[in-house]
Each structure stands twice: as C-alpha cells, then as structure tokens.
Symmetry: C3
Subunit: 447 residues, 3 copies
C-alpha cells in the first residue's frame, strides 16, 4: 500500500470549507452551459464500482462525466463477478484504477469501504455511499442548492424532519450545516431522533449547543405543543440574542429538509403517523420563505400537490447534482485548480496503529468485514484529554482510550496522566481498559 | 404537473402520417453513413429507463444515440433501486429528465406507463414498450423496412401470421398498416386470432372492412382449405375490384409478417402445430415477391434454412432500427426539422377528467398500478354517438359512457339525447350506467 | 450462414506468431499515450455480449474502446432477455453485429460459443472467454507483459503453479509459451496437474518434450523434495545442454505464474495446503529475477505483503490489458495494418462435415448445447496417421477416427490403410468405430 499525492472525496471533511465554496462557483459555471460537452475531461474515464445498487447516484455521476466530455465504464452488477470469486476491494480498485479508469466512484455496503478504495487506488476516489458512514456528494449537492437559493449558509434556520436516526444523509448534512454556521431544528418522527453520537460529535468538533425549540405550528410535521431540539454553533454573544437559550423560538424557517423512513434499516418499527408535508404545512407563517428539500427518493412524506409550489426545490436538488459533480470531478482530476487551501490533515495519511489490541467496535466496519484479511487497524486521534478519543480511520466510529502503555518498560498509565502523556509517541500502546493492558502483558505503574 | 411544448413518441399516433414518411427519408440519410459519428446530437445525453428487460430494444437505442454523437446513461437494473425504495415513475422521470438526460427511453411493464413518463418529464420521452399498450419504434422500423423494400405502403397485401392475440407488435402494426392504406390478411394460429377490440378500432378509426380471404397454399403456415380474414381500408370503388367482398382472393403477397408465440403472456395454452415458415412456404407462387418479416427474437417459427433466401428481411428489419431511431431522436431533440404538420391533437393534452366515478377497467393500466396514488383519471373522447366512447388517456383502453350528468342540476340524461348533449362541457359528468349516476347522487331526468 | 473476409480472435491460433509480436509493438505505442483519446476508432461501436458475468474482462475491453475514441454498448445482464425468450446466439450476433455494433466481444458459458458468434456475425468477434475453451486476450496480455519485462519469450523458464487442471487460462498460456519457445515448469497443487489432453497437444502440435525437474527450494509453493514436470520445445541439440533430459535442473526462474483454485469448477475437492506465495518464496535464489504473475482475481494464494515487491507484476498485467486490447481491436477493425502474414489456415473456414454420424463428445460444447438446433457438425483435421485426429471446429475437443467409409461403394477401411486414404475427399465418411460404420449401413472392405 502506498500513499499518493492525489485527492479523494471519501468524507465531506476531505474538502476544506473554502474549497467547498469555491466548487460551488465552478458548479455554477458548468450549470449555465450544461447541454454542451465541456471537453474539460476529454480523454478521461470514470469507473462506477457499485457493490450495492443506487441507480440515482450512479446516473448522476455518469451524466456529469459525459457532460465533461469523458467516458464511463460501469460495474453495477448486483453481484460483482470478481468479488464473487473472492477478490478484495483493494485488489479491485488497484486493477480498475490502473489503466482502466482515471477516477473511481465507489458505493459499498460496508462502513468505511470508500476509504479503503481511496488508499489503494492510484487514482482519485469518490465515495458514492459506504454503508452507514458517508455519502458526501449528496451533502455537497444539498449545501450547494441551499447556498444557491439563499445566497449563504451561515445563520440559516434549517428544520430536519422525519427519520433522523437512520438517515446517513441527515447526519452528514448536520455536520456540514454546523461547519458552515447554520442552525438546525430537529423535528424527528418520535423514536427516530438524532443518535447520541451525532450530538456528541456536533458538540466536540463544531461547538454546537443544543436547546429546546418552540416552532410555529407546521401542520403535518409538527404542532406547537411539540418541542423540537435546536442545535446552534453560534457564539455566546449571539446566543444572548435569544431570551432563553433553553427554549429558542423559531419564527422564520429557511429550509425544511424532509426525509423518508429508512425502512431497509429499520427493525420492524411502525411508521404510522410518519410526518407528511402538505400544502397546509406550507401555509404556516414561519414557512413563508422556506425551501422544501428532500434527498429523494420520496415515498409519501411530501404530498404530490406540493410539487408545484415554487418553494419546493427537491427536484432542483437532484438537478444541481450534475453540475456539482462535474465541478468536483474536474477538480479531483486536476482539470480545474482551486485557490483555497486543502484541509490541514488529509485523512489519507496513516494514523495510530491499533496493533493487536485495538479494533473498531463497529461490526459493519470494513475492517471487520471484507478487509479483515488485509487491512491494518488504523485510528485517528480526535480528542486528547482525560481520555483519548480515537476514531477508526475507515468508518470513523469512535473508541475511548483510557490507558497508555510504554512498549519499552511494559508499564501502563492513565491516559491523561502526566506519566501517560510523557510516553514518547513511537513507544505508545493504546488500551481501552486496564484488563486489556494486563492481558497484553503490561503492568500498572501504580502497582 | 406541467404541460410542455416538447414532443413525445408514446403511441404511433403521436406522429402524423406525413411526419412518419418524412422521417423515413431522414433515416435513409443516416443509414448511408452509419459508421461515422454524425455529431448531430453531440452534447446530448439519452437515458434508457428499463423497468423490465429488453436488451434488443435498449441496444438499438443506445447504438443510435452513439452514432448521433451523443452519450448514453442506462438504468436497466432488473430491479431499479429507487423504485425499490418506493419512488414513483413520475418522480424518476422528473429527476432523470432534469439535468441527467436530454431524452428518455422508457420501458415499463404497466400499460400506459410511457404516457405518464411523457407527461411528467420535461424532456422528450420515447416509449420503448409499455406493457400490452404500444411499442411504437418497433412499428416505425417495420413500416420503414417494408416501405424501403416495396417503395410504398399503400395497397400492399400483408399477411400476419402466428400469435395475433397477445402480440402488442402485431396490434400496433395493424393500425399503422390501415393508416397507410395497406391490406391485411390474418393467418392466426387457431385460438390466437386478433382480439375483438383491435377489429373494432380498425373499423371505427380507419374504416377497415373485414372479409374472408382465400389465399394460395402457403405450406407450413396455411393451406388452401383454411380461411383467413381480410382487412382492408380500401374505398368502396376499389373494393368493387374484387368480385366478392366477403371472399377476397389473394394471389399476390407483398409481405409475410411472422411472430413468435408470446409464451410469457399465455395461460398455458398449447402451441403444438404452431405455424412454421420453411423453404417450401417460400416456394408458393403467391409468395414469389413476398418479403419475410419478423420482429425478432424468433424461436422456431422460421426455419434457419430460410435465412439465406433474399426475400428474408428480418435481420434487415433489426438493422434498419438504428437509422430509424437516429432520425426519430434527432427530430424529437430538435436537431432536424420536419416540414410536415404534426397530428391535430397531441395526446399530451389533458382530456376528460374521470373524477371520482370513471376509472379505467384495465387492471394492468398504470392508473390502477403504480400511478394509483398520484395520477388523475384522464380520458379522451374517441367517438360520440348514441353512446360515448372514451379511452383512458394512458393505456387507451376504451369505456362506453351511456349517461351524462349535469353538475349544476344534479340530473342525468342518456348520452346521445338532445338534453344530454346540451349540457355545457364544464358541467358534464360521465357515467357508464344509471346506477353509477344514482350512486353519485344524480337523479334521472326521466323520473 | 456466410463466410466473411473479416478476422476474428476466437482462439490464440487465429493470430500468427509474427502478428502477435507486431501487436505488442502497437500496444506499446498506445500505452505511452493512454490518457488521451486516440480517435483511431472514432465512429466505431463495440458491443460486449456477456452471457455470463466477467466484470474485469468487460471493463478492460470497454476502457480500451473508449480510449480508442469509440463507443460501447453492453449486454451484461445476468439473464439476456432475448435469449430468455429463446433466441439463438447465431441470431443475437447477427442482429447486434448488424448496424448496432462494429465489433463484438462475446463471453459465453458453453465451449466453442465464440466460434459460433464469429461465423454468424458480419463484424469481427473477440472471444471474451467461452466455457472451458479459450480466453485468448488474457493469454495475449500475459505474453505481452512477460515479453515487455524480459525483452523476449524464447528460452524463458516459466513456472506454473496452483490449479493447473481447471484453469483455462493456464492451458492457453501453455500452448502459447510452447509456440514462442519458452520452457514450462509445472508445480501443480497435488491432484490438479495439467490434463493429459493438454500434454498430448503440446507434444503433437509444438513438439514439446516432458521431463522431471528439480527446482531450487521455493518456500510456500514447492520444496526441493517435490518433483515438478519440465516441458520444453527446445530442439535436441539444445536439450543436450542439460546433463539429463529426464531430470532437468532449474536454477533460474524467469516467471512464476500463480493461479487461484477454480472452485466454481471443482467437485468439492479440498484445497487445504493450496500453494501460497509469500515473501519467503521470493527470497529463494532461483527467484532472484523472477516476475510474479497472476491472472487475477486472486484469493489467498499470493500474500498481500508481496504486492510491494518490484518483482510482483500482476497488477501491471491487468494494466497492460488495456493497451493490448486497443491494439487488437484497432487491428481487427482495420484501423492499423500489420506487415506480418496471417496464419495459413483461418479457423473460420468450414472443415469436415460430421454428417449424421460424428458428433463432439464434449457435453459442454455449444454443438451439444444451444447450437444443437441449428449448427452443423464441423470438424478440423489435426493429425492424419494410423488414425485421424479430428477436432470439433467449435470447442476443439478431439476425437479419433479409426475408419473411413466410401459414400459411393458403401464400404469402409482402416483410417491409415492405403485403401482408406485412397477414398476421394468428397466421398469420405468418418467413423470412430467399426460398429458406427456398420450402423450407418457400411460394410467392411475386409469381409
């Protein structure tokens, strides 16, 4: 496995905030002349490697590459024949990302699989959705659409509605909204609230504060008696604008982002009385200038009669996906240059070696799936205080490290202790528990 | 749902007779330089949305678009992933027909689905076969081949042979032959005759008369003792040329159109002794100048030894499908202009609202299938005499309307009565039966 | 069925040795400017007709055609819809190879199917793998890679390792190595030796001699105590260089060609202790300049730690597949001319008619499969001594002809007898046994 200078888009964090905004401007240029081959990528081949079906995402990428003047090869077989014969994802992307194709779009059912593809392929890799991990181009398209409609992202009031628990799209969108300084009002279908780990990460990485929100009556999705959560990354002096941080009143909504029940990931939960956005929702005063968004496909959660309302922009979201993906691919292929700086740390670099002890606890993670026979356990440090917060370099699931061992002295210390932090990096061994350390033959420095 | 200025080809009637003939000439031009990109559609993307498999049709369209210099994206998954998640056809075509593609080819198992696609997509839609409804490009290719071989269509004697009951291709071809003034001799596999509704429509819409036919012995498909039906749109003074209208003698056959048993739609019927065209069939005097046609795929109904006979043109039919589809797509995309006038009424316009009462009785109709949750019941008036003949705007199945209600007075009258016909259009409510009217709260004007 | 002037690549023998070498040079030119459309095949459409899945092979061909500036249409449905309706391969290739596509790549589960495609299609056909018969472009790519790495093929010492019994790739590679004068050392997984018919053909067609080989210790794949077979086409005076022909010592290995267990063709045999190439294998002195090859996909038979060794060239093999296929297609399409002469006998010509008596004994042969209803039994003469060795013109399985009958006198003679050989060609009838001849109404000339 070798490191490359090339850029991937596996997680939305692989792009800096400034790069994203600059890509929006490039997307605008492509959009204005969509019906002509741009020839920007003439001579270039994109391969879509879809290990699970997603016709919509695939067609959007294929259209984008054709409109750039390039060519497309597609492995969208429900059962990829090479992997049926036992081939690893790492081998597949090395072959297809060799002479076959100049850029890869990978969709895979296992969390973190797109990062594996990015690390092994010599050409740029775009994540077209990897399990419950990320679907960054969906997020880019959502942000681009909202930015285009409202002229900005900062300070927008965005309502998220429906199944907030299982929707990967919603989670990625949350992080991105927080990063761009938008405020989030969550109106989940009861029982399908944002998971705790999403809230934790919003707080730690983006300083997002939570409050309860009182929202004007939005028939069909929320009534005044319902309390919603309000998530804001605003700085304290701004929060002071609200009379009571713990009960923010939302009188103006900039966008309502509706999402379908992710039935395929449910455990048989009922979806009776799932929220349903109708013409009367749009009649609410607070929704006067709201945009109605949906990642599509929709089922029944937005009435067909709403389609003709000028505030409904869910088909425009899909439409803007093509120029957005054109800009992204032209950038990754080096056909357009960005002035903006990349993120400080590129996730392609190796982090902390998990060795024989640490493993990702996410059973759907690619390191526990098809990568188990060839992937090293690799972690990144997210936070280092009393305990260390490490995340799997592939699926980004976090684990807590409470002890640090010294490979030389074979002793271990509490993570945040001066002795622990004094262990030189190359000698550090990470343990979640003291029994883990002892099982590995280390003894407590306290004994 | 909005109406568009764009043209679709959902039914062969979406093109005027003059337009069709003009398209043949364009197809000829494309055919003569087939092995070169024409660049007529450079910068254009065609999407094939196949909700049921049809490799042949799909490849023909894809080849045509590539030869026009355009690009192709394909959703030919046996199970479309978005529709698996509950997405409607209307949503799919609005997304894919947005920025993804500039023209759509749709194949769908439900009758009338292609019209739904045409109404919702902003870009031109071509019907690649929708259930038992239509497959208009197959018909165009058949007509083009025959026209090219014989120099004309009017007055040709065309034998249709095999399973005339379940073959959608045969039905569409019948209407088209009648429209172009060709005569039809039906030689069905016994029990698989042309359905009554096809005969009815041939008579009403094209003035076609039926007679029995005595055909020269055609070994393998008919013997002299068999009686065949003769369908002619000829005017009375021409019919007089035959000594006896009820027993036309056919001594010259211009084409024999053979079709396979549509086993996938059969109900377990035996196909023992299914007609089989062999070298000896072609030895018949009447077949001397006949062309042998078949929509393909064939099974056993034409012997392989017939393939080398110069009168066999079934592979040429398939071959001409590419230039024919090139001409059609170039036209629908506005890349070539036709001098001919379009049909007087374009089927894309809304007709009679079925309201809560009228519904299409075709259980395979898209209005009773995937459209049931969002499609209005829409009908077109086909004939208005003692009873009204309405057809479903999607699948074209007919229903008979015997009563007209007046929304204002809440009374109803016999359809053809002066009182019925006097009800102003906007107030008219259509009923098949009096009990239907009464159930809707209308009372008979006769009471 | 008509004969064409066009060239196919169904078997590696469809190209002369000189043509192959010349194609390598063209491949080199394409390789050096791979990331640009070459426009050599602009206006040309390749159809991939895959009746069984092979994502890898398909993508390689598609990439090659796109890089040549052409277009691609693909029927890779696991179940081709036309063949599901009962269409023959002969019909499919006549339709798709008509106006749809200018060159066909066919993959089919039945042995010999690619030759059927070649005979019926009017355009060039490339075999993308037909059952257990051949996969000639894989062989071309393997040879090209080895030639490029070592500068020659003649006299190379090539170790074949693993499942040599079921690997079609290995068999084709053996014939090709023999033809180019390379020597083969077989190190099979015990029980999975090269089949007898491969050895027979190597001897008869290429004069290959077998010996036992003593190979330096190659940990993981062979130990010194193992005896391997040594196959050489070297002329006697060269063989004399070895002290003992029956025990050749191999001290320098030029390539180790590893192959996975073809589990999908196994009969439940265990693959415990299947050879496994590791870093320590590469530490062997004899392997110092060896290249490690593998047709991919690999399973576990090459350790991931070997990937970074500069001698590992299996990903390069895949990479070189694209320029190799570009050169091949440009040649078959007449876009580049070769100075070299074609093989003396092109396999597209008809050979010996099997009539009602002779049939191919390979039950997986296309003549016993989907072609049974339309293919003639056609054989080619491979050797004519005391008995005649005929091979099926499609799958190349051999049969032995021991008697020749005279159609005129209705007598039969021993194949090699003067009387037998005196029967004029047009009157000859071939029999495997005397009882076969008698059953056909022939009597022995000896009676």
């Amino acid at each position: 496995m070798t490191e490359h200078q090339k850029r991937d888009l596996v997680s939305i964090e692989d792009l800096s905030t400034e790069e994203i905004l600059e890509l929006f401007h490039h997307a605008e240029e492509f959009r204005q002349n969509l019906r002509d081959w741009s020839d920007v990528c003439r001579g270039t081949i994109m391969a879509t490697l879809f290990f699970e079906p997603s016709t919509r995402t695939r067609l959007s990428f294929e259209s984008a590459m054709l409109r750039l003047g390039g060519g497309v090869i597609t492995a969208a077989d429900s059962e990829n024949s090479s992997s049926a014969k036992g081939e690893s994802l790492a081998d597949t992307v090395r072959v297809v990302g060799g002479s076959y194709a100049d850029i890869l779009v990978v969709r895979h059912p296992q969390d973190g699989a797109a990062r594996v593809a990015g690390r092994y392929a010599r050409v740029p890799v775009i994540n077209g959705g990897d399990g419950a991990h990320e679907h960054p181009t969906q997020t880019l398209c959502d942000l681009y659409t909202l930015w285009k409609e409202k002229g900005r992202l900062e300070g927008l009031e965005v309502v998220l509605c429906g199944d907030l628990r299982y929707s990967r799209t919603i989670h990625s969108f949350c992080y991105a909204l927080a990063r761009f300084g938008a405020n989030i009002v969550t109106m989940p279908y009861p029982g399908f609230e944002l998971p705790e780990y999403v809230l934790l990460r919003l707080r730690r990485d983006f300083g997002v504060q939570a409050a309860t929100a009182a929202v004007d009556d939005l028939p069909g999705i929320a009534s005044g008696s319902n309390t919603a959560a309000y998530l804001t990354a605003s700085k304290p002096h701004q929060l002071a604008l609200f009379t009571n941080l713990t009960n923010v009143e939302v009188n103006r909504i900039d966008a309502i982002y509706m999402t379908r029940a992710q039935l395929e990931r449910h455990d048989g939960e009922s979806t009776l009385d799932y929220p349903r956005l109708t013409r009367s929702t749009l009649g609410a005063a607070a929704a006067k200038d709201a945009r109605i968004m949906h990642p599509l496909p929709r089922v029944d959660e937005i009435d067909y009669e709403v389609d003709d309302d000028p505030r409904s922009i869910y088909f425009r979201q899909a439409e803007l996906g093509v120029p957005m993906r054109m800009a992204l691919m032209a950038f990754l292929l080096g056909k357009i240059q960005l002035r903006a700086q990349p993120p400080k740390v590129l996730a392609t670099q190796r982090g902390i070696d998990g060795g024989a002890t640490l493993r990702c606890h996410n059973e759907r993670c690619v390191t526990n799936g098809e990568g188990v026979r060839y992937l090293d356990r690799d972690f990144r440090l997210r936070s280092s205080e009393a305990v260390g917060v490490l995340c799997c370099a592939y699926c980004e699931r976090e684990i807590l490290v409470r002890f640090l061992g010294d490979e030389k002295s074979r002793t271990f210390h509490a993570y945040g202790s001066p002795e622990g932090q004094a262990i030189p990096e190359p000698r550090r061994v990470h343990f979640e528990t003291d029994s883990q350390a002892e099982a590995a033959g280390y003894r407590s420095a306290d004994d």
